[in-house]
């Protein structure tokens, strides 16, 4: 596993938090919600292969 993906996810988290703050200050709750959701989706897209790897190794360990 590449460790840089962890830092990337952390950076996206920070930036989305800042965007969220800025948009909410300007009274645009809808767009703030959307950016949060978009950030979540992007991160999920990155992480999904590691999750599937985890499931596969769990299956392998317990012989399921």
């Amino acid at each position: 596993m590449d460790i840089s993906v962890v830092f990337q996810i952390a950076a996206v988290g920070i930036l989305v938090a800042v965007l969220n703050l800025v948009l909410q200050r300007a009274g645009r709750e809808e767009q703030a919600m959307m950016t949060t959701l978009a950030g979540l989706l992007v991160v999920l897209f990155w992480v999904i292969q590691y999750i599937s790897e985890l499931f596969e190794s769990v299956q392998a360990v317990f012989n399921l």
Partner: protein
């Protein structure tokens, strides 16, 4: 490889920053254009009330006393009124002048609708009718201006930080 990366990073940051600045400026530019149009209307009102200048000359006077891009509309309108050989109405010519110079200003479609409506009564019926229409249009502009001034400050700060943070976010996502 690193050089290309650095150039890409710089370009993305600059582009998103400039986009943020442009979006934050839109409200200010619209405000300026609205105020300029109001000035033009006030000049026209005085021309009608005190001097009773014919419409083409009044429009030419306005175009001299206002700044671009609003002055371009009045200049074109004055010219087309003077050279009107096809027998088109003042309203048709007004619409045509607006269409040509619409792209150069920052006004929104709502504003253009009111401005186009204003053209409907140009040169129609008596002095009082003209003055009333002008007052109606300036009232609309005043309402828009006070609304804009309220939200401009907030939006400007938002778009500026949105541009920069959005650029950095793009960089992180496509790293």
């Amino acid at each position: 490889m690193t050089l290309i990366r650095v150039i890409g990073v710089a370009l993305t940051l600059v582009a998103s920053g400039v986009l943020g600045l442009y979006l934050s400026g839109l409200g200010k530019f619209r405000l300026q254009d609205l105020l300029e149009f109001k000035k033009a209307l006030l000049i026209l009102k005085s021309e009608i009330e005190y001097v009773a200048t014919p419409l083409p000359e009044a429009m030419a006077n306005i175009s001299v006393r206002t700044t671009k891009p609003i002055s371009l509309i009045f200049e074109h309108y004055s010219q087309s009124l003077k050279n009107n050989s096809e027998g088109e109405t003042a309203y048709q010519l007004w619409i045509a002048s607006i269409k040509i110079h619409k792209q150069k200003s920052f006004l929104k479609d709502d504003d253009w609708e009111i401005i186009e409506n204003f053209g409907k009564t140009l040169g129609y019926l008596d002095k009082q009718m003209q003055v009333d229409t002008i007052t109606f249009t300036t009232d609309y502009i005043d309402a828009q201006v006070s609304k804009l001034q309220e939200i401009n400050e907030k939006n400007q700060r938002m778009y500026r930080s949105l541009g920069v943070v959005g650029g950095i976010l793009l960089l992180v996502i496509f790293w």
